[in-house]
């Protein structure tokens, strides 16, 4: 949970599905985050540069199969971006059996995000993980 006495943390939420975008925005807001949204990789980058969010939650598959990966890499290479937690959302694992893991160094290097979540998200899990990441970064 965010500390209510401080300014709420700003989360950039990116998804090209409007229903999911709206749902996740609502869920994140219910946990006290300020949410800025974008529905494509390009607009997300613009919002990211303008808003300098404290975290980014990105859908994995948007215009292309790897849009989310590419955006994550771009953010992680940015001076501000490399200081913030980046999460990926995916619906791929459940259906395709594709396994995502960020346990090994190589995977972490390749996937380049701090955590990934299956869609629809469990907001309690996601916000707990966010707070964890904020805590680690404070230290």
């Amino acid at each position: 949970m965010t500390d209510t006495t401080n300014k709420p943390k700003k989360v950039l939420l990116v998804d090209d599905d409007y229903d999911l975008l709206e749902q996740n925005k609502m869920l994140l807001e219910s946990k006290g985050y300020a949410v800025v949204t974008a529905d494509s990789v390009d607009s997300a980058w613009k919002v990211f540069k303008e808003e300098k969010p404290d975290a980014a939650v990105l859908d994995l598959i948007m215009e292309e199969h790897d849009s989310g990966f590419i955006l994550a890499h771009r953010i992680k290479r940015d001076a501000h971006g490399k200081t913030i937690p980046v999460f990926l959302l995916t619906s791929a694992t459940m259906v395709t059996g594709m396994k995502f893991g960020i346990t090994t160094g190589e995977e972490k290097e390749w996937i380049n995000c701090d955590a990934w979540f299956n869609k629809p998200i469990n907001i309690d899990e996601l916000s707990t993980k966010l707070e964890e990441c904020f805590e680690t970064r404070k230290m």
Binding site: L20, Q23, I61, H65, S91, I121
Partner: protein, 492 residues
């Protein structure tokens, strides 16, 4: 051969001797012809191959040596005897030099003659037999060489790579395709090649060569010889046994399966795309239900109704998508039973416009249509053609602006029945146009946000049009509108 009587010709100008010798030989079971002078003798003995010829040395017209020469020229295997009373040692030598078997001095006794003739005949039979054997051997060698070169030609023409190593891993046979696949420029017969082969192939070969109790089992593997599926081959190594069952070597066949792998890849891409497209609406519905059911979020009844409506839309879309996918799959597998009928495209387009009337009227759209009279018939499945135009006209309505218009025109042009459907809708950017017919592609921008669709409609349209040897063209200007032109060929 055994029962055949030896054929003899007697060439002699002396009548008494001719007849006497003939009688003697006939009684000894020879088949005898005679010639009364040299010229007749040449004619007879060159026109027919006699086993034996007895030639008188001195004849009035032409001498025996000339006769001998002519006969030998025509039939080298005819055994010739020179007979003469005026014998000299020199003529005898000359006659034998020219190919006479021997020289018989006149007068001769019957025993003397028969002994000579029998010896000559035996020689002839031996010569003939040895020639026959020689010829046979030559023929066999030729056949063998031909067989070998034929086998080589076949092996060399194979599109699959083939190479054989002996049990020491030395190369004993290969074809050009094998060299191409394993990219060895300098490869020499007899060379040990396990070390220079791609690792996976060496491993397979070694598995067979290193195992003394090899089983007669083929080992196979898929090897990516060039990355990114550019060259994928299937390797099959089979042991070659000696007649006694021990291992002689290994034959390896390399088959290019790149195309198959590409198809497989596209298929798996498609499956994962389908999975994603199915999963997203489900996740959306599940998300809405979670929100409504979550007491902490305290959604209002209005919000709940909105979410339920949107969930219903997503599920509706899901059902449509599954139907579209089933249609595509039926088209791909050609399991769809086509009922070919003579159709009037104009009537079908008009029927579709009427069928969708509620939709376009709801958006205040005007439809202007023009149908050429006496359109030729088009032989096709009614359901498929109706589906094609429903998708196109449906899009013209869906992606149109409120109070816009749709122009429909059906006419003939050369060998095509052309249907042109123009809308005043949102149009599309060139980069979107390029991907328009790909499965699941949907133009995404601020205008299309609230338009539902499966991303499969135009892909189905294209499949249907192409299955009738037709084509479809798109002309579009972003924010101004699009024109879809469908060409269906008719036979005059």
């Amino acid at each position: 051969m055994e029962e055949q009587r030896p054929k003899v010709i007697i060439i002699d100008d002396e009548k008494g001797l001719r007849i006497g010798t003939q009688r003697l030989l006939q009684s000894e079971n020879f088949d005898v012809d005679t010639a009364e002078n040299g010229m007749t003798g040449i004619e007879m003995a060159t026109g027919f191959e006699y086993d034996l010829a007895i030639i008188d040395l001195k004849m009035p017209d032409i001498d025996g040596i000339s006769v001998l020469k002519e006969i030998k020229k025509a039939h080298p295997n005819t055994i010739c005897f020179i007979a003469t009373a005026y014998a000299s040692y020199d003529t005898a030598i000359e006659a034998t030099k020219l190919g006479a078997f021997t020289y018989i001095p006149k007068p001769f006794t019957p025993e003397e003659l028969l002994r000579n003739l029998n010896a000559g005949y035996e020689r002839r039979l031996l010569t003939l037999e040895s020639e026959r054997l020689k010829k046979e051997r030559e023929e066999r060698l030729l056949e063998l060489a031909f067989e070998k070169s034929r086998l080589n030609t076949i092996v060399n023409s194979l599109a699959d790579g083939v190479f054989v190593v002996n049990r020491n891993g030395e190369l004993v046979l290969f074809n050009p395709a094998a060299i191409k696949y394993i990219e060895l420029n300098e490869i020499i017969l007899g060379e040990k090649i396990l070390g220079i082969l791609p690792q996976k192939i060496s491993e397979l070969l070694a598995k067979i060569l290193d195992n003394p109790d090899f089983e007669n089992k083929t080992l196979s593997a898929e090897v990516e010889l060039k990355p990114d599926r550019e060259l994928v081959v299937e390797i099959k190594c089979s042991p070659v046994p000696h007649p006694d069952g021990s291992l002689a070597g290994v034959v390896t066949v390399i088959r290019n399966i790149t195309e198959m792998k590409k198809v497989e890849y596209v298929k798996s891409q498609f499956v994962s795309m389908v999975a994603h497209e199915l999963k997203t609406p489900m996740a959306a519905v599940l998300g809405f239900l979670n929100i409504i059911l979550n007491p902490e979020l305290k959604t209002t009844p209005e919000q709940q109704t909105d979410y339920l409506n949107r969930s219903r839309n997503r599920l509706q879309g899901l059902v449509e998508m599954v139907n579209d996918l089933l249609d595509i799959s039926r088209m791909e597998m050609k399991t769809k039973q086509r009922e070919l009928k003579e159709l009037n495209i104009g009537e079908i387009v008009k029927g579709t416009v009427d069928f969708l009337e509620l939709e376009w009227k709801k958006k205040g759209i005007t439809v202007n249509s023009k149908y050429e009279e006496n359109l030729p018939v088009f032989k096709a499945d009614n359901n498929e053609i109706t589906r094609l135009f429903t998708n196109i006209i449906g899009n013209a309505i869906k992606y149109n602006k409120d109070n816009g218009s749709i122009d429909v025109e059906v006419f003939t042009n050369k060998n095509y029945i052309v249907t042109k459907i123009s809308d005043t809708g949102i149009g599309m950017r060139p980069e979107d146009k390029a991907r328009l017919f790909s499965e699941f592609f949907r133009v995404k921008n601020e205008y299309t946000r609230n338009i539902s669709g499966t991303g499969l409609g135009l892909s189905i349209v294209k499949r249907i049009a192409e299955s009738y040897s037709g084509k479809i063209e798109v002309d579009s200007e972003y924010t101004k509108g699009s024109t879809f032109t469908i060409y269906l060929p008719f036979t005059k």
